[in-house]
């Protein structure tokens, strides 16, 4: 079975190590959430899995083979990224940007064929971006651009999708739609989805398993119920929160209490 495995991996830039000795595994059909404070190494993890930076120790395995031995084009057929706030060239049309997702499957001389266009149409329908296919990227809103990069990642037909803060620019409706889509991809297409999130409630509701990063190390990992509680959040984020079971599905829900009502909270 195709899987993603990080074996005691340390990642960094030059001599500065950002992530220390990370060991984790993700299986098809599983949505893995990476949570942790700003600067805890979430984006670095994604850079490592796409081989933009080399591990200073440890190995990353895709389907049992070390990614340092896979060429870039082949890797892009397996792993797609939805970057956080990506630069998209303003004068290109939305369709042209999604078509770029077919790059790993096309040689230097091949133009996009009917199959590529069919795939692109499918993913643009699924991400509700087809309506503005002919519009220029520069004219699109932040949410529309975000969905466009998701469409581009899907067009790569990857086995793994890495999403870096996919909900950061979206209103609550599209947050739900985006993570819902990610979940469906997991279940129906048997993809591995790794998603970094700031929103602990979304993480708890949508992810099968969570990895909580703290200062470049894994603080704990497991199902949401074990990872998210008032104590772990206080230890890692330094924030006082109130965690209680979600009224619908009993998953941990995190509530914030403002300073003026702290006294009520203490009771």
């Amino acid at each position: 079975m195709f899987n993603l495995r990080l074996d005691n991996v340390s990642l960094g830039y030059g001599k500065r190590i950002v992530l220390h000795n990370v060991t984790l595994e993700a299986k098809p059909g599983e949505m893995l959430g990476i949570i942790g404070p700003n600067g805890s190494g979430k984006s670095t993890l994604i850079r490592g899995i796409t081989r933009l930076i080399q591990p200073s120790c440890g190995k990353i395995f895709l389907d049992g083979s070390d990614i340092s031995g896979i060429n870039r084009q082949k890797l892009a057929q397996l792993v797609a990224v939805v970057p956080q706030n990506p630069t998209l060239p303003a004068p290109f049309t939305a369709l042209e940007v999604v078509l770029m997702g077919r790059t790993p499957h096309l040689g230097l001389l091949r133009y996009e064929g009917k199959k590529d266009l069919a795939i692109v149409k499918g993913v643009m329908e699924a991400t509700q971006t087809l309506a503005f296919a002919e519009r220029r990227v520069g004219e699109l809103s932040g949410g529309e651009r975000q969905r466009l990069t998701i469409a581009r990642a899907l067009a790569q037909e990857p086995k793994i999708i890495l999403m870096d803060e996919p909900t950061a620019n979206l209103d609550i409706n599209y947050q739900i739609e985006t993570l819902g889509l990610a979940r469906q991809l997991c279940l129906k297409q048997k993809l591995i989805v790794v998603v970094t999130l700031h929103d602990l409630n979304l993480a708890s509701q949508y992810c099968d398993r969570l990895v909580l990063l703290s200062d470049g190390k894994i603080y704990c990992q497991g199902i949401p119920e074990t990872v998210i509680n008032a104590q772990t959040i206080k230890d890692v984020y330094g924030a006082e929160v109130y965690v209680y079971p979600h009224p619908v599905n009993k998953l941990p829900a995190t509530l914030v209490v403002s300073d003026k009502d702290k006294s009520l909270f203490e009771k």
Partner: protein, 359 residues
């Protein structure tokens, strides 16, 4: 959000999404190719001796194999057409195409609308080489000026490249800064040599402003292979160049070997720029404005942009050179003056017409 299994979508539906813009861009390529042909034939007839179209046509036809036409023209007319105007016009076309393609490539690589073919020291290197050539005894000058200009251009770019390289990567900002610094350094030497050149100054300035006078077939033959090979290589890398408009990190995550693409494209663009400037001097403006004009009209997708700028660059410089040799005949106007004087207003007109993001 309904998710169909998009891996097995029926193909006929795709006609609705087929990028319609592609078709109009293909028409544009065909149209510009025809326009280039017309430009060549019309401008061949224009000059100090106007040659009627019928005579021109017969002279050209007679040169084709298996066609025999009784000459009704003087040998003089034939020489003017075939040995003076035609090679000059072809060189102008080749140089225009090369500069436009190189400019588009640099702008794409640097993701900067101000990039031009001379950004990484090529022009300053060529100028220094050429001026050293001018300093040589007159009898050595004919072949050595272009050769030294070519060598100067390529070595300046190579120097910039090796200075800017950090380990296995080539940061583009460092490359631009190194290019500006090396360019300034070479320009300092060039300025001093010009200052000290005495009676050779006029020749040097003419070269720097660019000119196609005295073009003959051997120059066309020398330049063609470089420009042809370089341009074809760049055309082949049009899709990676598109993807690199995202940014280097995204391009890598889409499977592009970014460092390799940068090296190949910089090499090819530098080579064709060096070949373009070595005979006719530093012709400005073509490399930066043609790209923007074409991008304004037909969009940024490099697989269409590159062929379109190749044709547009050739047409533009052929027309500019025709103006250069006829406007104040028998005196020639430097072509660099013409390109900017007529090109800039045209570009400003386009810029006002289409007020939208072009880069």
């Amino acid at each position: 959000m309904a998710l169909e299994s998009f891996k097995d979508i029926a193909i006929p539906e795709t006609t609705t999404i087929y990028p319609i813009q592609w078709r109009s861009r293909i028409y544009a390529i065909v149209g510009l190719a025809l326009l280039l042909g017309i430009t060549i034939i019309v401008t061949l007839g224009i000059g100090s001796t106007d040659i009627p179209f019928s005579t021109l046509f017969h002279i050209l036809l007679a040169k084709l194999p298996l066609i025999h036409i009784e000459p009704t023209w003087t040998i003089n007319t034939e020489t003017i057409i075939l040995d003076i105007r035609l090679p000059r016009l072809l060189l102008a076309g080749l140089v225009g195409a090369a500069l436009a393609v190189a400019g588009t490539t640099y702008q794409g690589l640097f993701r900067n609308p101000l990039a031009d073919p001379y950004l990484i020291g090529v022009a300053q290197g060529a100028a220094l080489g050429a001026i050293i050539g001018f300093m040589l005894p007159v009898s050595w000058q004919l072949g050595s000026i272009p050769l030294l200009a070519f060598v100067g251009a390529v070595s300046a770019a190579a120097m910039v490249y090796f200075i800017a390289r950090v380990g296995k990567t080539l940061p583009m900002t460092t490359l631009i800064l190194a290019g500006v610094a090396i360019g300034a350094f070479l320009a300092a030497i060039t300025s001093y040599l010009m200052f000290a050149s005495g009676d050779k100054l006029h020749g040097i300035i003419s070269w720097l402003l660019g000119s196609f006078s005295l073009t003959s077939w051997w120059q066309v033959a020398m330049v063609t292979p470089y420009i042809l090979v370089g341009t074809v290589i760049i055309w082949l890398y049009a899709r990676p160049l598109n993807v690199m408009q995202l940014d280097e990190e995204q391009a890598q995550q889409l499977g592009i070997n970014v460092e390799q693409v940068k090296l190949i494209l910089l090499g090819a663009a530098t080579l064709i720029t060096a070949a373009a400037v070595c005979f006719c001097g530093i012709i400005g403006f073509v490399g930066i404005i043609i790209t923007h004009a074409v991008r304004l009209v037909w969009g940024p997708e490099h697989r269409f942009l590159l062929p379109l700028v190749t044709l547009a660059g050739a047409i533009f410089l052929i027309l500019a050179d025709t103006a250069a040799r006829t406007m104040l005949a028998p005196t020639e106007v430097p072509i660099g003056v013409i390109t900017a004087f007529f090109g800039a207003p045209f570009f400003l007109y386009l810029l006002r017409q289409k007020k939208r993001a072009i880069f």
